[in-house]
């Protein structure tokens, strides 16, 4: 069903033994692999490469990088452990997996930090060379766990990764320290053999990445091949596995993470608006990659401004919007806290502005590299006065692309700042993306005002479009439309400073009505209720889509009925949501916060939401969610049973 094309061109031959497999190959339908090591061990790079190999093979996949906020925490310690989890399958999957099937532990700290997540009976591949002396005691091992039987419940494969790498590179001319650094590529080679991954891409990648240092490129390729050959020849690995490509809708795919998809979405949206993109931003984890990416695309007319602070970032974006650019600022929660006053100004001046918040654990500096959904209420209410701002949220890494287009559509159509709430999991997690055709993307053009609109030939900057309530966008340079905007309350129509009670009341209500009216442009809420007779609805927003969907699948596979819906728009909420909620006896809202959407829904619809909340800095586990939903379904069923008794 699939024809797989590879886009690599390499001067190195692919690993030859790939065609000489002599060991048995077991077919499995899915696997979850977690690579764990020191933050200096290159686990993220290794994970990215393994993901790329898997993507090009045609599996469906989902990834979860997990790394410390410290750039180089002390080597060999628990806080310094960095990991990368990859779930891939021969069918469509929705999450990076609850728990690994295979844990690759590059040192004792990596084993200690991750063993708790590994179910018994699963596989550990440990770098035996590192399990000695100080490395063990540093993380509290009094004996070597690879030798003392404490891992008897697992499939333990000890591999002296470091010494094998050194052996493979003994003629490379590299010093011991440099040669050792290639051990992650040895591990990647081994995994590539175990799962019959294509190897051309990695070889081409290494060649390109180290083009300036051919000896490093060569040593990495050598280590990679040595790892592959080791798997093929050593007795420790009796079988390899094959996971067939997944059935996916036809088209061209690439693997993409949320931050990249978001950056591309902004570029695409600017093109579809016919406006130059201006990004004002200050570096902040986990949003900085959007700034980095957009800075690379000046040939699209993208201007990126690394501002002196968060406030200047959003201020410059708003100034650019006044000038007729598509003004965007990207940040994370602490940055939103600083930008609040300027976002309020954008509400008052009614100019388009996109505020991207890649949420992370809070409050304060919180958990910079971990995910959370706890900025929803800040986005809703975190400004002085009645200051309504539309909010959209992507549901998966690739969906960040579409969410960016939607945020821009709302911003320019309704002349308003818009929040786009991504999060750390979406930002760094990745999945295959069916590439859109640029010509099929929505047309977002909205013309600037060019003529006076007043009865006496004057320009009225606050005279509104009757359908959208948006005011005209008149940019400097337009003859005869000179006008002054500001944060002071202004009169309806003329936009002059006005402190009259009735006018303020009218303007406050009109700004709110304008945002509420966005609901008229939203598609009907889609509810996934296969039997049409579920009694429990699970409703989510943002990155919980994957785990919630996976949980629903589990329940349905067990013969239980559950309905699922997921909100892209948090403000305004789609107008048909009320009736949807009332159709079900129970509505469960899982969130990675303490119940922020639940609070809004209870207030709006007087529906008694059942919250399920976690703030662990990690995505939900599908199995846990399934248990919770199962419990609610059982409760509803038993309540009916007891009533009929």
């Amino acid at each position: 069903m699939c024809g797989h094309g590879y886009s690599y061109g390499s001067t190195y031959p692919a690993v030859e033994v790939a065609t000489l497999v002599t060991k048995p190959v077991l077919h499995i339908d899915r696997v979850v692999i977690r690579l764990a090591g020191d933050s200096g061990d290159g686990m993220q790079l290794t994970g990215d490469r393994f993901t790329a190999e898997t993507a090009s093979f045609g599996n469906d996949l989902s990834t979860l990088p997990n790394f410390p906020a410290e750039i180089r925490a002390p080597a060999g310690t628990l806080p310094g452990v960095s990991s990368f989890q990859l779930h891939f399958a021969d069918h469509d999957i929705m999450t990076p997996g609850d728990a690994p099937d295979v844990l690759v532990a590059m040192n004792p700290a990596a084993l200690r930090a991750n063993l708790g997540d590994l179910p018994r009976g699963k596989t550990i591949i440990a770098n035996a060379d590192e399990f000695a002396g100080r490395s063990l005691t540093k993380v509290g091992y009094t004996a070597n766990p690879l030798e003392d039987d404490s891992l008897a419940d697992y499939q333990l494969i000890s591999v002296p990764l470091t010494s094998l790498t050194l052996e493979a590179l003994k003629d490379s001319g590299l010093g011991k320290k440099e040669a050792e650094r290639a051990k992650n590529m040895f591990a990647l080679g081994l995994l590539s053999w175990m799962y019959n991954r294509p190897t051309e891409g990695t070889i081409a990648f290494l060649e390109k990445r180290f083009a300036a240092k051919p000896e490093i490129a060569e040593s990495n390729v050598t280590a990679f091949r040595a790892g592959y050959n080791y798997g093929d020849t050593t007795e420790a690995f009796a079988v390899s596995y094959e996971i067939k490509p997944a059935e996916m809708p036809p088209g061209v795919y690439r693997n993409i993470n949320g931050n990249l998809a978001l950056a591309y979405g902004l570029i695409a949206a600017a093109q579809r608006c016919g406006l130059p993109l201006f990004l004002g931003a200050y570096p902040i984890t986990p949003a900085s990659d959007i700034l980095h990416e957009l800075s690379r695309h000046k040939s699209f007319g993208v201007r990126t401004f690394q501002a002196e602070d968060e406030i200047a970032g959003v201020g410059a974006a708003l100034g650019a919007s006044f000038g007729g650019a598509l003004g965007v600022t990207t940040t994370s929660g602490p940055g939103v806290a600083l930008k609040g006053e300027t976002i309020g100004l954008a509400v008052s001046m009614e100019l388009p502005l996109v505020v991207v918040d890649v949420q992370r654990g809070g409050p304060s500096t919180g958990l910079p590299t971990k995910t959370e959904q706890a900025d929803l209420l800040m986005a809703m209410f975190g400004r002085n006065g009645e200051s309504p701002v539309p909010i959209v949220a992507p549901r998966s890494p690739s969906d960040c692309f579409d969410a960016a287009l939607e945020a821009v559509r709302i911003a320019t159509t309704y002349m308003t700042p818009v929040f786009l709430l991504s999060d750390g999991y979406l930002a760094n997690g990745s999945e295959p993306w069916l590439l859109p055709n640029s010509a099929d993307l929505p047309d977002l053009r909205r013309p600037f005002a060019t003529e006076p609109n007043g009865p006496d030939g004057e320009f009225l900057p606050y005279q509104r479009d009757q359908a959208t309530l948006a005011r005209p966008w008149a940019v400097p340079g337009t003859t005869g439309l000179q006008h002054r905007l500001g944060g002071l309350e202004k009169s309806d129509g003329a936009g002059e400073i006005n402190y009259e009670p009735a006018n303020h009341d009218y303007m406050v209500r009109t700004r709110q009505a304008k945002v509420d009216r966005i609901a008229d442009s939203l598609p009907p809420t889609e509810v996934d209720d296969p039997t049409g007779s579920a009694r429990v609805l699970v409703l989510g927003w943002g990155s919980t889509y994957g785990p919630i969907g996976a949980a629903c699948r589990r329940l349905r596979a067990d013969g239980l009925e559950i309905a699922q819906t997921h909100l892209r728009h948090l403000n305004p909420i789609p107008s048909d949501l009320g009736p949807v909620l009332r159709r079900y006896e129970r509505v469960v809202v899982p969130e990675m916060n303490l119940g922020q959407l639940a609070l809004l829904l209870r207030a709006e619809y007087l529906v008694d939401i059942v919250g399920y909340n976690q703030v662990r800095g990690l995505p939900f586990r599908a199995a846990e969610l399934a248990d919770v939903l199962h419990g609610v379904i059982t409760e509803v069923t038993e309540a009916t049973a007891s009533m009929t008794r």
């Binding site: 699939c2 024809g3 797989h4 094309g5 590879y6 886009s7 790329a52 993507a55 045609g58 891409g201 996916m248 036809p250 088209g251 061209v252 795919y253 690439r254 591309y264 570029i267 695409a268 130059p276 201006f278 004002g280 000046k298 040939s299 699209f300 007319g301 201007r303 401004f305 501002a307 002196e308 602070d309 406030i311 200047a312 201020g315 410059a316 708003l318 100034g319 650019a320 919007s321 006044f322 000038g323 003004g327 006053e341 300027t342 100004l345 001046m349 590439l435 859109p436 640029s438 400097p476 340079g477 337009t478 003859t479 439309l481 000179q482 006008h483 002054r484 905007l485 500001g486 944060g487």
Partner: protein, 349 residues
């Protein structure tokens, strides 16, 4: 400066007035500044729609409402940041920032120094009245030490900023000083600022007759002003006082600028003013001649040097990117280099 059109109708000062009632206190120095700026704007020969005034919050920041151009009355301290975004995305516009001592130097100090060091093509007018007027009379970051106000009944405790020293410390490319009551001086400084490409910073001493009346009296009183005001004239020895009996000299051992009697040191010892001096320590030295007491206060252009503008450099990078790789192709971008094809059909490329 673009926006000039051959044969465009000649504009008059009244063309730059709006129908808004000016709401400063009667007697405020802001009136004279507004009037002077409005009479200068036609000289620029730039269409009204190509000019934007951006302000923050404070008395001075009401300015844009009274000028018939495009305008933004933004939020406290942020005008330089907002104007930067505008100037960078629309380099052909003439963008002005109107701010005050509290707005620019207290809440907005960070944005001011960064706009200056980047050399964004902005003209920044800082109305310095050494007091918070709009909030009814608290001391400001330019108030003299020991200032007694509502918030400092026993006198203020913090040393003031010298706005010009700050701007020159940030290596602003154009720095000047003028005074509300000196219309000719302000006009000449505005002209020089208009000629300058890059960030132009003008401090304008402005009297707040309600909360800090007479703050600059020593510079206005006919009995004291001649001995207090140091006029800076390019190419001329810096002399002042009755018959130019005093001059600015350089201390031989430290190079620090100071004031001396010309009769004692001789005219050859007097520093000849050159605002194009690259090293900012010269202009900085001039800015240090006056302390809070305004005893020796230079007026005019302290510094005017050429450096590429931030907005110009950014536009050049965009042009260079297009020249190098062609205008961006969205489909190509989305495609990247690592794709695969599902379904019958050709290989990905």
């Amino acid at each position: 400066m673009t926006g000039i059109e051959i044969g465009m109708p000649t504009l008059k000062p009244k063309d730059f007035k709006t129908d808004q009632e000016v709401r400063w206190c009667p007697g405020c120095g802001d009136y004279i500044i507004l009037n002077t700026v409005q009479s200068f704007l036609p000289e620029m020969n730039i269409r009204r729609e190509d000019i934007v005034f951006v302000s923050g919050i404070g008395c001075s920041s009401r300015f844009p409402y009274y000028v018939n151009t495009y305008g933004l009355h933004s939020i406290h301290g942020r005008a330089p940041a907002i104007a930067t975004g505008l100037a960078v995305s629309r380099p052909e516009l003439s963008v002005w920032v109107v701010t005050g001592d509290g707005d620019a130097l207290s809440i907005g100090g960070n944005h001011l120094i960064h706009a200056l060091r980047r050399n964004v093509n902005l003209t920044i007018l800082l109305f310095n009245n050494r007091i918070y007027g709009l909030t009814k009379g608290q001391y400001s970051p330019t108030s003299e030490l020991g200032k007694v106000t509502k918030s400092t009944p026993m006198g203020s405790l913090d040393a003031p900023f010298n706005p010009l020293s700050l701007a020159i410390g940030a290596e602003a490319t154009f720095v000047a000083r003028a005074m509300d009551s000196d219309r000719a001086g302000l006009l000449s400084v505005l002209r020089a600022a208009h000629e300058h490409k890059g960030a132009a910073f003008i401090e304008i001493y402005q009297n707040c007759n309600i909360y800090n009346d007479g703050a600059f009296e020593v510079l206005k009183d006919p009995g004291t002003r001649d001995e207090a005001i140091i006029p800076l004239v390019t190419g001329q020895p810096i002399r002042f006082g009755k018959d130019g009996h005093r001059g600015v000299v350089r201390a031989p051992n430290t190079g620090v600028l100071g004031v001396a009697e010309v009769s004692e040191v001789g005219n050859d010892a007097i520093v000849v003013h050159d605002p194009s001096t690259e090293d900012p320590s010269y202009a900085f030295g001039l800015s240090r001649l006056s302390g809070s007491d305004l005893g020796h206060t230079p007026f005019g252009v302290f510094r005017s040097v050429q450096r590429p503008t931030y907005d110009g450099l950014m536009s050049a990078q965009l042009d260079e990117a297009v020249a190098k790789s062609g205008a961006g192709d969205l489909d190509q971008l989305l495609h990247g280099w690592d794709t695969w094809v599902v379904g019958a059909g050709a290989d990905a490329s």
